[in-house]
């Protein structure tokens, strides 16, 4: 099938995306529906927090995706800076909005979930706050892409921003923990539940997670292909003006 790098060529990537996309989208939809339906309808309430436990089927996958999408953007940025593959840079640009939406979902569901227990809609809990900071990073990243016309310069600048941003995101994660350990030291309800999830909850949770990952992959293929079309169109337009 040739080396993985062969997909750096936009044509091969577009052809591959065209064949793979329908399958991934169907698989994603099916997995998501199964995971969420199973979690929503067929799992018992948690004896402590009642039915709010059903929110984990959205909150946990979305939170994981919010972090992993940024990590994927970091990897694609490095690939762009080192090997100069256009598709890699465009994939990072394509993934950013998906990551941002995942962060918003994680924030919204986290806040709604915590509301009954904390009594307020927003709580400066270290985990929720670091997702808020991550969201600001996503906004800055997307804004930088829009602010630059030359596609190559934009790819370089956003790649460096992503790398520097990643270091500071990790730093902020610890700073936020340090800044607010007082309030939630003993919170029995830890928002990222993998470790103490009873197995009756975990199977639908893993399916939901798989669904979110597949959805992300499908969206990135779709959006990267769109970016390739746009990039090709602007190249043709420029050539026409060049005459």
């Amino acid at each position: 099938m040739g080396s993985f790098w062969e997909y750096a060529n936009p044509v091969k990537f577009t052809r591959m995306a065209e064949t793979v996309l329908p399958w991934v989208s169907i698989l994603a939809t099916v997995t998501l529906v199964v995971g969420l339906v199973w979690g929503f309808f067929f799992t018992p309430d948690d004896y402590r927090q009642g039915s709010t436990v059903k929110i984990i089927y959205i909150h946990v996958p979305a939170a994981l995706m919010a972090i992993n999408v940024w990590f994927m953007m970091l990897v694609t940025s490095l690939v762009w800076l080192i090997r100069r593959h256009h598709v890699s840079a465009l994939a990072a640009k394509a993934a950013a909005p998906v990551g941002a939406i995942m962060t918003v979902i994680a924030l919204a569901t986290g806040a709604i979930w915590g509301q009954p227990m904390w009594g307020t809609w927003w709580e400066w809990d270290p985990r929720l706050t670091s997702f808020l900071i991550l969201f600001l990073f996503y906004l800055g990243y997307m804004a930088l892409w829009e602010a630059i016309d030359n596609p190559d310069t934009a790819a370089d600048l956003t790649a460096v921003l992503c790398i520097v941003g990643s270091v500071f995101a990790v730093l902020s994660r610890y700073a936020v923990n340090f800044w607010n350990q007082g309030l939630h030291q003993g919170a029995s309800l830890s928002l990222d539940k993998e470790e103490n999830v009873a197995d009756v909850f975990s199977t639908p949770l893993y399916i939901a997670m798989a669904g979110f990952v597949l959805l992300f992959i499908a969206l990135v293929f779709l959006r990267t292909r769109t970016e390739i079309y746009k990039r090709r169109a602007s190249a043709l337009l420029a050539r026409e003006r060049l005459g």
Binding site: N9, A235, A238
Partner: protein, 209 residues
């Protein structure tokens, strides 16, 4: 101190503008770049000066040998003529600015803030800065813009002196400077559209650029 450019392709805004450029600039010679506006002369000069990576091909010249000067001369309005020159002398490690002051008749303007100079005087200060860099190869982009005839003559003499001293100059300009310079027209090197075949062919990546 020769500058050789071999099979150079340069791009602007991600789109190739000139390709397959070949020329050499020997010490003591001047080369004038001709070509319609917007064909990519400025991009070419910036690539040669190292401000911009070429798409392909290479530019080889001894290290630290090129001095680049564009339309804007990098002059600080609040600093005096002498302070501006002294700063660039320190940056390039040249000892004194006397030669530059005399070369461009800036002696009596020494203490005047650069902001108070006329366009012509500013240009002369910009060119004096070139002298201060002590670099043999001058890369000049439209150096005689906004200069009156008398200053253009002054500029031509300065370049002639530089050439006599073994330096060389690559100048993009439309005005005849009266220099014994070879001319290099970049028109024919304009990047041709990739041979048109269907859009999703193998060389799509080139189709990007």
């Amino acid at each position: 101190m020769t500058l050789t450019v071999t099979d150079l392709t340069i791009s602007r805004g991600g789109i190739p503008v000139l390709e397959g450029l070949h020329f050499t600039l020997e010490a003591g010679r001047a080369l004038v770049l001709r070509g319609p506006n917007g064909v990519g002369k400025t991009t070419l000069l910036r690539t040669i000066a190292g401000l911009q990576p070429p798409v392909s091909g290479d530019v080889d010249a001894p290290p630290e040998s090129m001095a680049y000067a564009a339309h804007s001369d990098g002059l600080k309005a609040t600093l005096s003529v002498a302070e501006n020159l002294a700063f660039w002398a320190d940056v390039f490690g040249t000892k004194s600015i006397e030669a530059a002051l005399d070369g461009f008749k800036l002696r009596e303007l020494m203490d005047r803030p650069a902001g108070g100079l006329s366009a012509g005087q500013k240009r002369r200060l910009g060119l004096a800065r070139l002298l201060v860099t002590g670099r043999p190869i001058w890369i000049l982009d439209e150096p005689t813009v906004s200069l009156d005839v008398e200053s253009v003559a002054l500029f031509a003499n300065a370049v002639r002196a530089h050439l006599a001293g073994g330096g060389s100059a690559l100048i993009a300009t439309h005005i005849d400077l009266g220099l014994e310079a070879d001319v290099f027209d970049v028109g024919p090197y304009r990047a041709k559209a990739t041979s048109n075949h269907d859009s999703f062919s193998g060389d799509f990546d080139e189709g990007f650029l």
